[in-house]
């Protein structure tokens, strides 16, 4: 207990690292967001399955669109957050930004994985294949590999400041690269035209409305999960530090 106090007590409070002054804010915000997401999800589900019209060409599977698009969007947004957090972390060396990046990587990869799976499921009944080298899907897939790379860097390098810096660089380079990858794949695909995922033509207002609602709901859900995961990663880091300090003291 004395050891624990020494390592994590006064020193941490004085350090500007783990301790955040916003102890009360986050749980409250999280609660609000969680409640809003729940309500929003109920509304969205109703709108997606009942309110929105059935697509004339694609039929019921088209409704996957309302899930797929927000999730893909958030999967990509998460990576941008990782990149921005990474740059700030490189400049300021304040580990809270590293924690933010790690949280974003965990939430983001879930959203992106689901988006890719949904995209594949959507493609199957429409185009008869599980996969198509559609530029959006391809860019998402490569982005997914970058997510994995980011998580692996942290995992293999022991979640230290060094791994934080390495991961930050990966996110930065990746975020600049993905648009280039998208363009390159787009150009390449014009040579091998293949099925494209998407909804063609102008969208009727009910569809747009449903999409907006779904997008909002998923964004709320994302924020809720981000807060949860930020806290979790923060606790994990604290526990790791505690364990290391105890081993250090005992090992001497």
């Amino acid at each position: 207990m004395a050891i624990a106090n020494r390592a994590t007590g006064l020193e941490q409070v004085r350090d500007k690292t783990i301790s955040s002054g916003k102890k009360a804010d986050l749980p409250v915000a999280s609660l609000i967001l969680g409640a809003l997401s729940f309500v929003g999800m109920l509304i969205s589900l109703w709108m997606i399955f009942i309110y929105a019209p059935t697509d004339a060409v694609q039929g019921p599977p088209q409704r996957i669109f309302y899930f797929h698009v927000p999730m893909a969007w958030l999967g990509m947004l998460s990576f941008v957050i990782m990149a921005v957090a990474g740059v700030v972390y490189l400049l300021k060396r304040d580990e809270r930004w590293d924690i933010l990046g790690r949280a974003a990587s965990e939430v983001g990869i879930v959203f992106l994985t689901l988006a890719i799976i949904l995209g594949s499921l959507w493609g199957r009944p429409i185009w008869g294949t599980w996969w198509t080298w559609d530029p959006k899907l391809t860019a998402c897939l490569i982005l997914w590999f970058m997510y994995v790379g980011y998580i692996m860097v942290h995992s293999y390098m022991g979640r230290t400041p060094e791994s934080g810096r390495a991961a930050a660089v990966l996110a930065l380079v990746g975020v600049v690269d993905v648009p280039i990858i998208y363009e390159a794949t787009n150009w390449w695909r014009t040579l091998h035209p293949a099925a494209e995922i998407g909804v063609a033509g102008a969208l009727p207002p009910s569809v747009t409305l449903t999409l907006m609602v779904a997008l909002t709901t998923f964004t709320l859900l994302y924020c809720f999960m981000m807060i949860q995961l930020y806290q979790l990663v923060k606790m994990q880091t604290l526990a790791q530090r505690l364990r290391a300090t105890v081993e250090y003291e005992i090992g001497e």
Binding site: D15, G158, T160, R241, A244, T245
Partner: protein
């Protein structure tokens, strides 16, 4: 001390999430020779590495000759010479090639003459064209000293310079140290032998558990008291 040459304030460093330095405050005047005593793992090497700008501290400030470590790290590297546990040499290159390489890294003028002159100083002139991989441990140490002195540093950092040296080697480093001090250089060295510290240094500092627990000028300290503090620290 007003306007010290080297000023360290509130220095903290954790390594792989283990705290190593927990708030170091230290001042050194120009020309002093400070001995840093401490058991293994007390943080001596980490402190030296921070001063050599190899590692960034987590918190605190370091000022050397009015240069701030955070802003002017490259300038500080020009002023510092470091003889560490590792020799920081390239084994596949010859002694002369090593020194010429570092001379170009430090932009040392008249590199070749300087390198050859230093090789003479440390007694390695006959091995100038031999690869470092073929050197004995003592010879590697000497070359490391040559590398550290190559750019005429103002601050010499030595990490346990006495380990593994025979009497001839010890005499050499004492001579080099004297010359360095005569030319106005400052020295900070670590050791875990109190006698060595008293012999070579004019300031004694003891480091335990990441904090400074004792600080005295050699001239004014009471040997018995120092010994007691030393034993206390080592325990």
């Amino acid at each position: 001390m007003s306007d010290p040459y080297l000023a360290i304030h509130g220095l903290k460093k954790s390594f792989a999430l283990k705290p190593v330095l927990r708030g170091i405050n230290l001042e050194l005047a120009r020309g002093q020779r400070m001995a840093l005593l401490g058991a293994n793992g007390a943080g001596k090497t980490t402190l030296l590495r921070i001063l050599a700008a190899l590692t960034k501290p987590d918190a605190g400030t370091v000022t050397l000759a009015h240069y701030d470590l955070r802003q002017d790290a490259q300038q500080i590297r020009h002023l510092v010479g470091f003889v560490a546990h590792q020799p920081y040499l390239y084994e596949e290159l010859t002694a002369l090639e090593n020194l010429l390489f570092f001379a170009s890294m430090y932009s040392v003028p008249s590199a070749r003459e300087r390198a050859l002159s230093l090789l003479g100083e440390v007694g390695l002139e006959r091995r100038a064209r031999d690869r470092v991989a073929t050197f004995s441990r003592g010879q590697v140490q000497r070359l490391a000293w040559a590398r550290a002195l190559l750019h005429r540093p103002q601050l010499l950092l030595l990490d346990e310079p006495d380990t593994g040296l025979d009497s001839e080697g010890l005499a050499l480093i004492e001579r080099l140290l004297e010359q360095h001090t005569e030319r106005g250089g400052t020295t900070l060295f670590t050791t875990h032998q109190l006698e060595r510290a008293l012999h070579l240094g004019n300031q004694i500092v003891m480091l335990a558990n990441g904090r400074i627990v004792y600080q005295q000028a050699t001239a004014s300290l009471e040997p018995a008291g120092a010994r007691r503090a030393f034993e206390e620290m080592v325990r």
